[in-house]
């Protein structure tokens, strides 16, 4: 059995690093107000690892302590993965027209925000919502009011909401937008390891 081919599938990431990245993506997706970039490579690699482990466990006799330990770990990783995918789906459902708009307007070379399955899901959701609105309400309205602008009807993701964040590398001169006329813009330096509370918009640009 060639081990090196399985090794290269990890793309020089140790499995521990892969799981750590998955957990980081999970926490980031949970706490950010808008849909973040799709980490499909991580998802695929983790699925591969899980399938491998599952296959191994099928082959070994039941009742083994080792098997139960491996099974527990598989369950934990599976939970993180499902929770990650679930929070992405929730955001897609909440902000579906904006998500599709963003995907349409990105350059071909930029990484995509949605995986192919998520994209198909979003389009279906849009089509279903439009059909539903038409069937339930719109067709009973006078003819000149029968269209609805979905982009305006669904609220945009609140990019100004506050988030807690942890700084990993030192950043300089982060601009904090003023909220009132009395305050001025100011710049701060972010030290490594600091945990802050500030609005998402200024985090995005930094």
């Amino acid at each position: 059995m060639s081990e090196s081919s399985e090794h290269s599938a990890d793309d020089e990431l140790t499995p521990a690093e892969l799981i750590a990245r998955l957990e980081e993506a999970w926490m980031n997706e949970k706490f950010s107000p808008e849909l973040l970039e799709n980490k499909s490579e991580i998802v695929e690699c983790v699925m591969e690892q899980l399938i491998h482990m599952e296959e191994n466990l099928q082959r070994v006799k039941k009742g083994d302590i080792k098997a139960s330990v491996h099974r527990m770990e598989i369950d934990r990783i599976r939970f993180v993965l499902s929770s990650y995918l679930r929070s992405r789906l929730q955001k897609i459902e909440k902000y579906f027209p904006h998500v599709l708009e963003k995907e349409k307007s990105r350059a071909a070379s930029d990484p995509s925000f949605l995986s192919p399955e998520e994209f198909a899901f979003a389009k279906e959701y849009l089509a279903n919502t439009e059909t539903y609105l038409k069937a339930v309400a719109l067709r009973h309205m006078p003819p000149n009011l029968q269209t609805v602008d979905i982009l305006k009807a669904v609220p945009e993701p609140p990019l100004d909401s506050f988030v807690f964040l942890r700084v990993r590398e030192r950043q300089e001169n982060i601009l904090i937008e003023p909220e009132t006329d009395e305050q001025r813009e100011y710049v701060t330096d972010l030290e490594e390891g600091a945990e802050l509370l500030q609005d998402f918009q200024s985090c995005e640009t930094s």
């Binding site: 521990a16 957990e23 527990m72 934990r76 993701p157 909401s161 506050f162 807690f164 909220e179």
Partner: protein, 208 residues
């Protein structure tokens, strides 16, 4: 985030146990000890395709480091004894408590998940931890002091309309207790303020 999810994250911390069974090495996918090891995959003697990291080998009476989720499971199956982490000691915790009460800012905690670990270990393994009740009270005192400080600083954040705050040394569990309320109320106030500033501007994010 749900408190049980915070506990899930805390369960990855390592703790020492003393097993009463023997087993050779187990290789987990996401072992926390192995962040610096170079990965390699190979087939072990009993046919497992081992991926990364190692736990064990387990020998009766010899201490070994395992993640908390595994330690609790083994303890429940009565296969091991849990050794309390070195910070879970009455004198140390009293010192930490005094330090926390003196300082205005948050002092560094011995573990980023001290609250969850205390609760888990004291609930499942209090027979392995000396003076468990005192430890429970001490940790609760430290927690109360820190959460009170957090409430005060959240209050001043809101009244002085700050745009950002620095919160070093806070643990995830503490942040989580006030996360939903604080963030939602800050967002609400932000919306009210910016609408005052921009009369007639397009109001984004209308929530119903």
């Amino acid at each position: 985030m749900d408190p049980s999810e915070v506990e899930f994250v805390a369960e990855k911390e390592m703790v020492t146990v003393i097993p009463n069974f023997s087993l050779d090495r187990i290789y987990l996918i996401g072992s926390a000890t192995c962040r610096t090891n170079v990965p390699h995959m190979y087939r072990s003697a009993d046919g497992y395709l081992c991926v990364q990291g190692d736990l064990g080998p387990f020998n009766p009476g010899l201490p070994v480091n395992v993640p908390v989720w595994l330690a609790l499971n083994l303890k429940q199956r009565q296969k091991c004894r849990i050794v309390p982490p070195e910070w879970m000691d009455v004198e140390k915790l009293e010192e930490i408590r005094e330090q926390e009460r003196k300082e205005d800012m948050f002092t560094p905690m011995p573990s980023p998940h001290y609250m969850e670990l205390t609760k888990l270990l004291l609930n499942h393994a209090s027979d392995n931890i000396p003076r468990a009740d005192e430890i429970r009270t001490l940790v609760k005192d430290i927690w109360d002091t820190r959460v009170a400080k957090l409430r005060l600083s959240a209050d001043s954040f809101v009244t002085q309309q700050e745009a950002h705050a620095k919160l070093d040394n806070l643990t995830l569990m503490e942040i989580n207790t006030s996360r939903m309320f604080l963030l939602e109320s800050l967002n609400c106030m932000y919306k009210l303020r910016t609408n005052l500033q921009h009369h007639g501007g397009t109001a984004k994010g209308q929530e119903y």
